[in-house]
């Protein structure tokens, strides 16, 4: 814990270079054109994420969790607003620049695991390193073996994804997400395709890694059990942040909670939503 819990998801515009921030989402909107209509997936969302937190994005289906994760993961671009990753504003970058940024600073864990079926567990974990020329052969090998060990799959290195259970696949995916030593791991509903027990184990593994490595984790979920394992939570509804929570011991304390009527903030700068 950082000792300043209200930062968890403090909806402010912080300076880009604040070294305590892993991610800063600043007034981000995402709109889709569906024929004549405009679908607002995210509406002027602002959010600061401290380094090293284990943050859950909660909210009903269609509330914009995936959309927000995609923006933070630099795999989609906001209609308005800015995303700052690690103190670097990522707007206006070319696809190749974003690819290089993702390769080195962001790990992804997917709901559907997304392992390459033709590659073994070892090769799947190795895959992201193949595009990082700065990492030599030996180090590559050491890292892959290390992270397979971390996720408890040292004995499954030669297995193909279809020879692994769902939980094991997601472990491989976690090892893959970590192998490039990212500062941030994003997981969109990592447990949705797993049974409860396996899902919780996956979350425990992620949290253990989070504690041990201080890598920031942001994951989305529907599952209240899973939300309970986070130390910060951001609740979304209709593309807006409706609640920001910090967990101390077993209890959530809410830094911000939207009432039926949005509270009147004196300082418009600190207002979430529109």
């Amino acid at each position: 814990m950082t000792g300043e819990p209200a930062r968890a998801g403090r909806p402010t515009r912080a300076p880009d270079a604040d070294p305590r921030l892993a991610v800063s989402v600043q007034g981000v909107s995402k709109e889709y054109a569906l024929g004549e209509e405009r679908v607002v997936a995210l509406a002027n969302v602002s959010l600061n994420v401290d380094r090293g937190v284990f943050l859950a994005l909660a909210g009903p289906s269609g509330s914009g969790k995936s959309t927000l994760l995609n923006m933070i993961g630099c795999i989609d671009t906001p209609t308005r607003g800015r995303i700052v990753i690690n103190g670097r504003d990522v707007s206006g970058r070319t696809p190749d620049e974003l690819a290089a940024l993702r390769a080195r600073t962001i790990g992804f864990v997917f709901q559907t695991f997304n392992l390459f079926p033709v590659l073994t567990a070892y090769e799947n974990v190795e895959y992201p390193l193949q595009h990082l020329p700065e990492i030599g052969r030996r180090e590559r090998r050491e890292r892959v073996l290390h992270f397979l060990d971390v996720v408890g799959l040292a004995d499954y290195a030669r297995h193909r994804p279809n020879q692994l259970s769902g939980g094991q696949r997601q472990r491989v995916a976690i090892a893959r997400a970590l192998v490039a030593h990212p500062q941030l791991v994003l997981a969109d509903e990592p447990t949705a395709n797993l049974d409860h027990r396996t899902g919780r184990n996956i979350l425990r593994l992620m949290r253990r890694i989070n504690r041990a490595t201080k890598v920031t984790f942001i994951f989305s979920t529907h599952d209240p059990q899973v939300i309970r394992m986070a130390d910060r939570r951001v609740d979304l509804e209709d593309g807006e942040i409706v609640r920001l929570g910090v967990r101390a011991r077993k209890e959530w304390s809410y830094a911000f909670e939207r009432a039926a009527e949005p509270p009147a903030f004196a300082d418009g700068e600190t207002q979430p939503g529109r």
């Binding site: 795999i75 696809p95 940024l101 559907t112 390459f116 590659l119 992201p128």
Partner: protein
């Protein structure tokens, strides 16, 4: 760059995921190469056969004559006679790759048998030097000319027919002499011949060169016909001879410069082979791009994953290009082997062909796959495969990551 080697490996494994589809694409490439090799191999054989027949019936590989004879000699043949024998002839004989140098004296006149008289084009030849040089002059009836038979004449089959002569008949040849007079000799028909050119057979006759010289009252010959050990040496030897023989007295002309029919045939068939190539290229393009488009569609989710993990677009492009290239190369190699084997088999059996227009005989076709031809078939298939993969690969590399990822569901 350092990890480029992983691309082909990944490509092959991806191809093996859909063995049936990959096999289909491979089969298309293989079929393309085989078809191209057989089609152009057959035509190559026709070229070869026509070329060698042309060389071995009339032209030899090289013709050495007085400068200007080939263009203007018909009008004034006596102005272009080569000396009977010289050091130059010796020099030609001793040039590497030269197998035979045979003198020819060309003339024309009238030939009569009984009441009938027709015009002819004649060639005086030295029979002992013609055995191999004229091996495509096929003796249909009777026998060939001999050095010790000064009174013999060979008739083209068509000419014999229009004059109504048979082997053993006596004929009279009339020709102009340089002084403007007319001279005649009486000869016995020893045999009838046919060549690749029916037009030639309809008007030509051959006599020993000594008789021709007597008839025309001249010495020497119009041309020395040079036979080489191999047709592919034609240009090389022509170059050497052009350097060695004095330009003002000798002109060296290659067979192909005179073989009009051969050149026209080649250009006609080459166009046809061009069409075959185009069709085959189209087949390969369609099948490879279809295969890759399917692969891109199917693996859209994986492409999204790769891109999310930070793989740059160019690498995605390279990956799919590698798959197309692998199909092209592999299909190419299989096609080459299969093509060679089939060409051997077809040649062993033979393709019976009817007589082409202007020729006297049908023939047994073969398939002649030269290294050049095999290489160009291989290059066509692989290059086409690579080109065909550009578009699908490019499409793959331009997918929007978020949309691509959605395909994993």
């Amino acid at each position: 760059m350092r990890f480029l080697w992983t691309i082909p490996w990944f490509a092959i494994r991806n191809l093996l995921r859909e063995p049936r589809r990959s096999a289909m694409a491979l089969a298309a490439v293989t079929f393309g190469i085989v078809a191209l090799m057989l089609a152009s191999g057959f035509i190559e054989w026709i070229y070869y056969d026509l070329r060698e027949s042309t060389i071995h019936s009339k032209l030899g590989h090289l013709t050495i004559a007085r400068p200007g004879y080939l263009e203007a000699g018909r009008a004034d043949p006596f102005a272009y006679l080569l000396p009977a024998d010289t050091a130059a002839l010796q020099r030609v004989r001793s040039t590497p790759h030269v197998r035979e140098v045979a003198p020819r004296l060309y003339f024309s006149g009238l030939v009569s048998h009984g009441e009938t008289t027709v015009s002819f084009v004649g060639e005086g030849v030295q029979p002992s030097l013609e055995t191999d040089l004229s091996r495509a002059v096929l003796i249909e009836q009777g026998a060939s000319l001999r050095d010790d038979d000064p009174k013999g004449v060979l008739f083209g089959a068509g000419l014999a027919q229009s004059l109504g002569v048979r082997v053993g008949d006596t004929v009279v040849l009339l020709a102009n002499t340089p002084s403007g007079g007319v001279n005649a000799v009486e000869l016995v028909v020893r045999g009838l011949f046919t060549t690749v050119s029916k037009a030639y057979d309809d008007s030509a006759l051959r006599v020993p060169i000594a008789i021709a010289q007597t008839l025309l009252r001249v010495q020497g010959a119009h041309a020395w016909i040079v036979l080489l050990d191999d047709t592919s040496n034609t240009d090389e030897v022509a170059k050497v001879l052009r350097q060695e023989l004095p330009h003002d007295r000798f002109e060296v002309t290659t067979w192909y410069a005179q073989a009009d029919f051969y050149r026209k045939t080649v250009s006609l068939f080459s166009k046809q082979v061009g069409v075959v190539r185009l069709i085959i290229a189209a087949i390969i393009v369609l099948s490879i791009s279809n295969t890759l488009t399917m692969a891109v569609l199917e693996r859209t989710g994986e492409i999204g994953t790769s891109m999310a993990l930070g793989v740059p677009r160019r690498r995605i492009l390279a990956q799919f290009m590698a798959e197309g290239t692998a199909l092209g190369l592999l299909g190419g190699v299989i096609g080459l082997v299969l093509g060679f084997l089939l060409a051997l088999a077809v040649s062993a059996i033979g393709i019976p062909m009817p007589p082409p227009p202007g020729m006297a005989h049908g023939y047994i076709g073969q398939v002649k796959v030269t290294p050049d031809l095999a290489a160009s078939a291989f290059v066509l298939a692989t290059v086409t495969a690579i080109v065909a993969s550009v578009y699908p690969a490019w499409r793959a590399s331009r997918l929007a990551i978020v949309d691509a990822l959605r395909h994993n569901r």
